[in-house]
């Protein structure tokens, strides 16, 4: 499984805070995962549109589109951070 988390504006637009996704070897990188999510259509294709700035963390460390994925990973998507 891959544990997916969504924060802030993304959580609201997707109406989803977290979900568990079946892991398959095709999910080699974050890019593969984003393609799966975008293919869901509706708000998913909007949020993960190529023109949108979405940040990703893999196992609670900042990652990128090329970050490799493995079974059991925690992957979080969120907008650029605005704390401080």
């Amino acid at each position: 499984m891959i544990n997916l988390l969504y924060f802030a504006r993304l959580r609201e637009e997707l109406d989803c805070a977290d979900e568990a996704l079946e892991y398959t070897p095709e999910l080699g990188t974050v890019a593969d995962l984003v393609a799966v999510l975008r293919a869901r259509g509706g708000s998913w294709s909007e949020v993960f549109d190529e023109g949108e700035t979405v940040m990703v963390a893999v196992n609670q460390e900042m990652g990128g589109i090329d970050s490799p994925l493995a079974d059991g990973d925690e992957v979080a998507f969120f907008p650029p951070v605005t704390g401080g």
Binding site: A57, Q60, A76, G83, G84
Partner: protein
């Protein structure tokens, strides 16, 4: 000693600074940054600010920033406190306090930590205004501030 706290409760500015500065009589300088809620942003009145974060990752991201500051400068203690949840105007949001033997390093490290926190720690602000709610957009100025420290 370094200490990180992410909390919904208010924090005691004086207690944190005193604990930090009294750790050692070799400390000569303490530089503190306090960020507080403004009642206006981008021209609109803001009545409430709600801070969301990513529990677990937040602490790790802050720890990584503090570790990097400790590598770059000769410091004698760092305290970072960040509020989450609903805040009102004048409420403190974040405190970064850095102790060192001399002031130059404390100033640099304190500014480095808040610059990095603003672009690398998973916090998000939502504002309540008379026109409704809105998520705060990341500021380009914060990206630029962070890039100064790249090497």
């Amino acid at each position: 000693m370094n200490k990180i706290s992410v909390q919904s409760e208010p924090f005691d500015l004086a207690a944190i600074q005193d604990a930090l500065r009294c750790e050692s009589p070799a400390i000569g300088a303490v530089v503190t940054f306090l960020g507080q809620m403004r009642d206006i942003n981008e021209g609109e009145a803001v009545t409430t600010l709600t801070l969301e974060h990513y529990p677990g990752m937040t602490e790790k991201a802050l720890q990584a920033i503090l570790d990097e500051a400790d590598q770059r400068w000769d410091l004698m203690g760092i305290q970072v406190v960040h509020r989450v949840g609903p805040l009102k105007p004048l409420d403190p949001i974040v405190l970064v306090a850095v102790a060192s033997a001399h002031r130059g390093e404390a100033f640099q490290a304190c500014e480095f930590i808040i610059d990095y926190l603003k672009t690398r720690a998973p916090f998000w602000k939502k504002e309540q205004t008379p026109e409704g709610e809105r998520w705060v957009d990341a500021r380009v100025a914060d990206d630029r501030a962070e890039q100064r420290w790249r090497r």
